[in-house]
Amino acid sequence: MNLDNGQSLTVGGQDLTRNGSSSGSSSRYPWEDAKKVMKPSTPTRKPQPPKPENAITIAVSSRVLFNMEKEQQIYEQQGMEEYIRYQVEHESEPFGPGPAFSFVKALEAVNARLRELYPESEELFDVVLMTNNHAYVGLRLINTINHHQLFIERFCMTGGNSPIGYLKAYHTNLYLSADPGKVREALEEGIAAATMFTQEKMKEVSDTQLRVAFDGDAVLFSDESERIYKAHGLDKFFEHEKAHENKPLDHGPLKGFLEALGKLQKRFYGKGQRMDCPIRTYLVTARSAASSGTRALKTLRSWGLEIDEALFLAGAPKGPMLEKIRPHIFFDDQMFHVEGAAEMGTVACHVPYGIAQKVSRKAGKEPSAPK
């Protein structure tokens, strides 16, 4: 960092670059004193993370796992150097939970159950912290992970470089980020991805059962039917769906993730735990049960995928229904539905895929992650 020639970065008055031999103060490192403020991490035997190709890898960015609103503001208003300085200065203060936090906690609960049933198996969730952040923020992030007792052991702090290559290297099954640009890039590379937002309201969710809700068109399925609706209206849409009822829809970006969840569910069914399964999936679609919904269900069946509950809202708002379900995460391609869900406290994320994006692109600058 160039803070005038030769001037070094200080942390709480202590010289960051001081080397061990010239120490004049009692503690060797400034953060040793600060660490006493934090909750000590309980020394439990840590299970070894699974090999990426065997696991279901969920990559989350730092801003969706934790609440970094204040820091993001500093970055946007005062620039990178100030942002880094602030982060380092507050290194011992853990961040609060972000929108993906309860989802990650629920993944861990599923893992605990899987390990009980299959102690040798590597078919588990593996959460990787995938952030554009500079490694100077690394210690604060690790301290926060310790504080909240999360089980994340793998991360990439790319210091500004694109995460896409690393997503592939980790065989990522799902990528969650606050940066819509990166999410779109991931989708283009065939990786399931969604944009998450900081929400004021986040209703309490189960800590024993992971609940994942999906929209149908342009999320699980392709956007082909949505295109017809947008071009020719509702009547033509119904006609088309009825006529093609037995022709499976093409797959959408999140189909693979539903498939992965289904595989894990079967691991529980195999041990007689269908009623008590810690994973539950939902389809929450604007299609109607009477007509257009049939094609959706038949498509899922043709893929060999099960969904626990299918909710056909026939165009009604999704917020109230989701509020009853209390999923840890809800995926939709339309911001209208994402916002509606979020208003009622459901953690909703946006899948920027398909025709809905071209028709209703939000105006204005999209803030990017600190590089």
Partner: protein, 294 residues
């Protein structure tokens, strides 16, 4: 054959201030070393003390196989040398009287190359490489040359050579094909975190915590000359076996030596090569250099 080290234009960077130095045919001194006698001794000494001496073997810089007529073809360390030069250029841009610079030595480590001194010097100029000094040594005495020239980092494509140098206490790194595809505009140095935290007693990384003048400490100081963005020098940490605790310790150890890390990757046992192929480091600093998986 005794080794001869040419004090070539380390002072090229201050050529605006100095009159033309005769560096192409230096006058041999009484002890056989070739220094540029026209230099004001005190000036050279002051600047030398701050310089970070990096020695690279000629077989790494020039393709041992081919030669295009007069000059050798460049080898896999070419982007590395360009990146080292780039760091020096940027440092001088910021501060024309900067003394913390890379002092690059091109060293031969075989009698065969030792006898190709003029061709090597010619090739260096042909490719626009800024080498501070040449050391024409053989396999028998290159280690002495490294020590005599206070080399802080020795880079070679030969595992045998790096091993020998390391045993004599010279921090060494093995160069491989990865270096060839690394950028020429940004020097990317990778610290392997597992040995930062638990260094082998005999290995070079064990010195990292004790030596304020060590290469890592100097590198850290250099990095501090630049801002967060657009730095020509980037320091990367990779922890391959350990998890976040190892990563945390490694970050703290490096920081205590004045080394701020830009990018950090913690693998916790995941395969290394997919990640390494994305990092494009010019070289890796580790006690187990060369033991990383292919």
């Amino acid at each position: 054959m005794a080794s001869s080290c040419y004090g070539d234009a380390l002072i090229r960077r201050i050529k605006e201030k100095a009159s033309k130095w005769i560096y192409r045919n230096p006058v041999p001194g009484p002890d056989g070393t070739h220094l540029n006698h026209h230099l004001p001794k005190s000036g050279l000494r002051k600047k030398d003390a701050d310089a970070v001496v990096v020695a690279v073997t000629s077989d790494a810089v020039f393709d041992p196989g081919a030669d295009e007529g007069d000059a050798f073809r460049v080898g896999l360390a070419f982007p590395l040398l360009q990146a080292l030069q780039r760091v020096n250029e940027r440092l001088l841009e910021q501060n024309p009287s900067e003394s913390l610079l890379f002092d690059i030595i091109l060293i031969t480590t075989s009698s065969q190359r030792q006898q190709q001194s003029s061709q090597i010097m010619r090739s260096t100029r042909h490719h626009g490489l800024e080498v501070g000094r040449f050391c024409f040594s053989s396999e028998d005495n290159f280690l002495e040359s490294l020590l005599e020239n206070n080399v802080q980092l020795f880079l070679s494509t030969d595992r045998n050579e790096t091993s020998q140098a390391s045993q004599r206490g010279v921090l060494s790194a093995l160069l491989d094909q990865r270096a060839a595809s690394s950028p020429s505009e940004q020097l990317r140095v990778l610290f392997c975190g597992d040995t930062v935290v638990q260094p082998n007693a005999a290995g070079p990384m064990s010195t990292i915590q004790h030596d304020a003048q060590s290469f890592p400490a100097q590198l850290g100081k250099m990095r501090q000359r630049f801002g967060m963005l657009d730095s020509p020098l980037v320091i990367i940490l990779m922890v391959s076996q350990g998890g976040r605790d190892s990563c945390s310790s490694a970050l703290q150890v490096l920081r205590s030596c004045g080394v701020g890390v830009d990018e950090a990757y913690c693998l916790a046992g995941a395969p290394q090569s997919p990640i390494l192929s994305l990092l494009h480091p010019h070289f890796l600093l580790s006690d187990d250099f060369g033991e990383l998986e292919e």
